[in-house]
Symmetry: C2
Subunit: 359 residues, 2 copies
């Protein structure tokens, strides 16, 4: 698999892990689950399959130096900088152009920098299988088996079984479904043939470029210009000019929903998007009382259960159950785990009232 | 009442309001209930009855400058410094000696610096009445009507009615009871003739000195030496020598339990010892959701009820009920109100493990 490349999309940053996750230090730059950052973990879990020179990172100008410092073994030219955010189809295209200039026979796994994967072994087995399937011309997506009727994920509807390999089933996709209503999500969950769209895709680069050419001819032309620029020079002028013209589309909408030959592999890799404090809690190592503690200072937890503490100073909890405590130098959050989704409202309020220093 | 003096005992400091209350900044130095410190409130509520020159403050060498700075209108010579703590009979004796040197016909109300009194008017009416009763040679104590079977207070058992005045009943005391067991406290509560010992006493100085002479002759001799020293000189040498010999006793044990002519006036002045976060919560101004907020920074409370926040930085609470949050630069407490008494255990743990910087 010497033409197998990993592209980590590491731009953006969620607000639902506020006050730890901020614009300047988004989720992927934080050591949330252990002493390494989520980005570094995303890099490290690639180690046995991808040598550093076959790992590419796409991110913005502000984050790139941070990420680069966190993974110095990856060649600096593999950090591809989006001049500014233009949605993820453009980001993916930029990464494709860079890798295509490098290796026209590349097969690429598209990954995010801010997800948790519990089982590394299952993940590697999945990638090996997906690589094989991608060689046959399929756009492979990894599907996560839903555990609850989520309205926060897109879904993939699987069709006929294409084949079985390495203990995994590979299905033809019957189509992508955008984030559903709760009723529809309930139906998807009960039906059993729908997977969450993890955003992890495995493509041969030629197949991917064909789909851009067929479905997004304007983007395709721009990508060819970018590829040319990557092959020729380090000059960012072309990138700047091209980027201005790049349409803002999501990769799902631009490519995946309309693609032919999409295959889906339902995977069991212990995946979580770590999308909220409560989902972070689910993947943390907990003590015997179900408490999760992160941060550098002493924690005294008296009569406390199922509580998550992120703090760098002495933190004492007494008589708590199911509470999330996140202490930062300028903001403190104390939140019931069941209400963790309401942090979005708080961040929205801070935005609307112009309290940008907290964002 | 130009011979009426107030003596505020302002030494010591509770640990149950940790992490705000510390050795260096005990409860009375904190602005817990409003923007003034408890000490300053204790001083201010004396204003209409006691001019500043008739207010004396007894405290230790470390706290005195802090208290002095908080009440600059009180003459500096009225701040009486205990060289070091030798229990409160010695502290009271020291204050008595200072006032006796000043005015041999003084009547003195003994007060603490760290209690809350909701009704100033009722308090003043009580003091006027107590003053009258003290002129008749009684040692007057103010009794608080118990609202629950507390095992944390001493009790006073009232006997026959001595008289009624200004809407108050004055009883002869049948004796002091030390902090009872829960069963005994239940009995006291049901009986209806027991009051909590508030530690607020009103004495004529001659009667008080007589009781010292009769019950604590050794202390009495030392107090005469101190009185002499206060009358003659500012020299602290005598105080230092006397203080070494001063027995360590509580005022209840040394004087009140064995005193003759003790009178008790049950009072309804909205008294609270502010002895824990939950009792502080009871006396705070709350918003319509029962939340109490103190500190300088913005607080966003979403779906939160009956919660107390002490914080100087942006604090967000979501989905909480009955929680106390106290943020300080080096320690954070998040505690259920019903468990506030367990803070003692935490402070004990910090002490035992040598983490003195937190105390």
């Amino acid at each position: 698999m010497e033409h197998f490349y990993a592209m980590i999309l590491a731009g953006g940053g969620g607000t639902r892990l506020w006050p730890l996750s901020r614009k300047k230090t988004p989720k992927q730059t934080l050591a949330l689950t252990e002493d390494r950052t989520l980005f570094r973990i995303a890099v490290d879990r690639l180690a046995p399959l991808f040598p550093p020179e076959r790992i590419f990172v796409v991110s913005g100008p502000r984050l790139t130096p941070l990420l680069r410092g966190d993974a110095l073994h990856i060649p600096s030219e593999n950090f591809i900088v989006e001049p500014y955010a233009r949605d993820n189809a453009a980001a993916v295209g930029l990464g494709l152009a860079a890798i295509a200039a490098h290796d026209p026979d590349a097969t690429i796994v598209l990954l995010t920098a801010d997800h948790h994967i519990a089982s590394q072994e299952a993940f590697h087995n999945t990638l090996r299988t997906a690589y094989e399937v991608a060689q046959e011309g399929h756009l492979v997506t990894l599907g996560i088996t839903p555990t609850y009727p989520s309205t926060g994920f897109g879904y993939i509807h699987r069709g006929e079984l294409l084949r079985e390999a390495n203990g995994l089933q590979v299905y033809k996709s019957q189509g992508f479904k955008e984030k559903p209503t709760y009723e529809t999500a309930l139906h998807f969950l009960a039906d059993g043939t729908y997977s969450w769209n993890s955003g992890m895709f495995i493509w041969h680069i030629r197949k991917a470029m064909q789909e851009f050419e067929r479905q997004q001819p304007k983007m395709y032309k721009l990508l060819l210009e970018l590829k040319h620029a990557f092959a020729l020079t380090d000059d960012d002028t072309i990138l700047g000019e091209v980027w201005e013209k790049m349409p803002r589309k999501s990769i799902d909408y631009a490519i995946m929903e309309g693609a032919t030959d999409v295959a889906v592999i339902p995977v069991d890799i212990g995946w979580s998007d770590v999308g909220s404090w409560s989902s972070l809690y689910e993947v943390l190592k907990l003590d015997e009382k179900g408490n999760g503690i992160r941060g550098s200072a002493e924690t005294l937890m008296v009569d406390t259960t199922q509580t998550l503490v992120f703090s760098d100073k002495l933190t004492v909890t007494i008589g708590l159950d199911g509470i999330v405590i996140v202490d930062t130098p300028d903001a403190l959050l104390v939140c019931h785990r069941d209400k963790a989704q309401d942090i979005k409202k708080v961040v929205e309020h801070l935005k609307v009232t112009g309290q940008d220093s907290y964002l």
